[in-house]
């Protein structure tokens, strides 16, 4: 009798959890459905420009040959502050090797694609007249990683790459006029 009660209890509990998960998913969908400029995926940079009316999207004109254009992922929001994140894959491995983000609301952590696990050096430097900060370190599996952050107009722009700083500097310089 007690075993039967326990089984019924377990089933009833599992059902309740299932219902709760569905409710949470629905609740998560509501603000995205009603707020068109909330954080979401976009198919192209032009789509971001049109949908969110963000005119200045900083894209490099130089890309090393191993990086695939267009971005594999474009995420953006208009509210509470404009922000755009672009991820680029390596042609050979298919791994994400470059993440570019720009935000008008301070630091905007893009995602787990590239994780700068350890920092070796932080160097302030001038990049085409802008003060930038270069961070050199290692990602997982001891791969070299570097990050450059600078202010461009009202945006904070960050470029994070699984590469030595030399290659990243060339990419970021090509983003500036």
């Amino acid at each position: 009798m007690r075993t039967m009660n326990r089984t019924t209890g377990f089933l009833s509990f599992a059902l309740a959890i299932g219902v709760l998960v569905v409710i949470l998913m629905a609740m998560n969908w509501v603000p995205r459905a009603f707020q068109k400029d909330s954080f979401r995926r976009y198919g192209s940079i032009d789509e971001v420009r049109t949908a969110l009316n963000i005119r200045d999207i900083y894209v490099p004109s130089y890309f090393p040959q191993h990086i695939v254009w267009p971005p594999s992922e474009i995420l953006a929001q208009g509210k509470p502050f404009p922000a755009v994140v672009m991820e680029f894959k390596d042609a050979g491995s298919g791994e994400i090797v470059l993440v570019l983000s720009q935000s008008r609301g301070g630091p905007f952590p893009a995602g787990p694609a590239i994780d700068l696990a350890s920092i070796k050096e932080t160097v302030p430097f001038m990049m085409k007249g802008r003060s930038a900060v270069l961070v050199v370190g290692e990602c997982a599996k001891n791969e070299p990683c570097s990050r450059i952050t600078w202010k461009e107009g009202s945006y904070t722009v960050t470029a994070l790459m699984k590469a030595a700083p030399f290659e990243l500097t060339r990419i970021t310089e090509s983003m500036l006029r």
Binding site: R6, F13, M27, P31, K79, G105, D115
Partner: protein, 330 residues
């Protein structure tokens, strides 16, 4: 600092996520108690305290496991992203985040005025003040019951008051204070039951785990869900003490009858207050007090002899589900 900047900061994420985590934990624990038909108040209290304690540690724990959990990409794939709601502006003007902030400020004030100040006052009074009342001679039942609970027998004072009042102080030298009115109204068995209940409170107030829970709860002073669940756990405490009292007296009926003396009755309210209420009705707080008393009396009158174990398996499953589910609530 704007509202959205606050909710993107570590402190803001802690406040918002701990609220969500406690709300989800509260829903799940309520369901678990019903699904597994947990009637033992000590086990119920353990479940209710998950929603009080878990959100204190959940956010820092999850961030330690995965530092990218607050990132945009993780939020996009999450089961529920609270920032989507907090950034949502009603009619494009008032962000829901502002309403949320007002709610946590209101909760903090309730915590301050209804919990912190009364507790500090009570502690200071217990420590410093001489209790008013006439000292009763050695009470054989209190001495016997205290011995059974491994306690030193507390002093019993009689307060010169006609209202039914009994309470205990739980400091270094605990005291049971009973009004003369209640002393007169109770039979010998009912009086023993009432003393046993107070002794149970004194005994339980010395448990380090319970004291830790009471202190930890203060960290969540801003969290309305924790406020509700903590009060629920306090009510469970009354039922736990009822059970201890019955184990000492072997007389559930006497305790139920003693509890009936504490019902609020509309005719007992001052004439001025009664005018503001519909005929026969009582204020909400007193109504809630009566409901709680009624549920305790009903429990005592229909005591089940079969206890369904201590519920540790159900507790472990519930805690696991809460931990896993809340990881995806950012």
């Amino acid at each position: 600092m704007s509202i959205s900047t606050f909710f993107n900061s570590y402190a803001g994420m802690y406040v918002a996520q701990s609220f969500c985590h406690s709300l989800i934990a509260a829903v799940i624990t309520e369901r678990a108690v019903k699904a597994w038909r947990i009637d033992d108040p000590a086990v119920q209290q353990r479940f209710h305290l998950i929603a009080v304690i878990f959100p204190i540690f959940s956010f820092p724990l999850y961030q330690a496991i995965n530092a990218s959990r607050g990132s945009a990409l993780f939020r996009l794939g999450a089961l529920f992203d609270v920032n989507q709601w907090l950034n949502w502006e009603i009619w494009g003007v008032v962000p829901i985040g502002l309403l949320f902030l007002i709610m946590i400020i209101a909760t903090s004030l309730v915590f301050l005025f209804q919990e912190t100040i009364p507790v500090i006052k009570h502690t200071l009074e217990s420590r410093n003040a001489e209790h008013e009342g006439t000292q009763r001679g050695p009470e054989p039942f209190v001495e016997r019951a205290s011995k059974a609970l491994s306690l030193e027998a507390p002093e019993v004072l009689i307060l010169d008051d006609d209202e039914p009042v009994i309470f205990s102080t739980t400091g270094q030298d605990p005291v049971i204070i009973i009004s003369a009115g209640l002393r007169e109204a109770l039979t010998e068995d009912q009086l023993h039951a009432a003393f046993a209940h107070e002794l149970a409170h004194i005994a339980r107030s010395r448990r380090p785990l319970l004291i830790t829970v009471f202190v930890l709860r203060a960290i969540m002073f801003f969290n309305p869900m924790v406020l509700v669940k903590f009060r629920r756990a306090v009510r469970d405490e009354e039922k736990i003490c009822d059970d201890i009292a019955v184990s000492l007296t072997r007389n559930a009926k006497a305790l139920a009858e003693a509890l009936e003396k504490f019902y609020y009755k509309p005719e007992e309210f001052p004439e001025a207050d009664r005018h503001e209420l519909p005929p026969g009705s009582i204020p909400l707080e007193e109504y809630s007090h009566n409901l709680h008393l009624a549920s305790r009396i009903k429990r005592l009158e229909h005591r089940a002899t079969d206890t369904a174990g201590n519920g540790w398996i159900a507790f472990a499953i519930t805690l696991l589900v809460i931990t896993v589910l809340n990881y995806y609530v950012v």
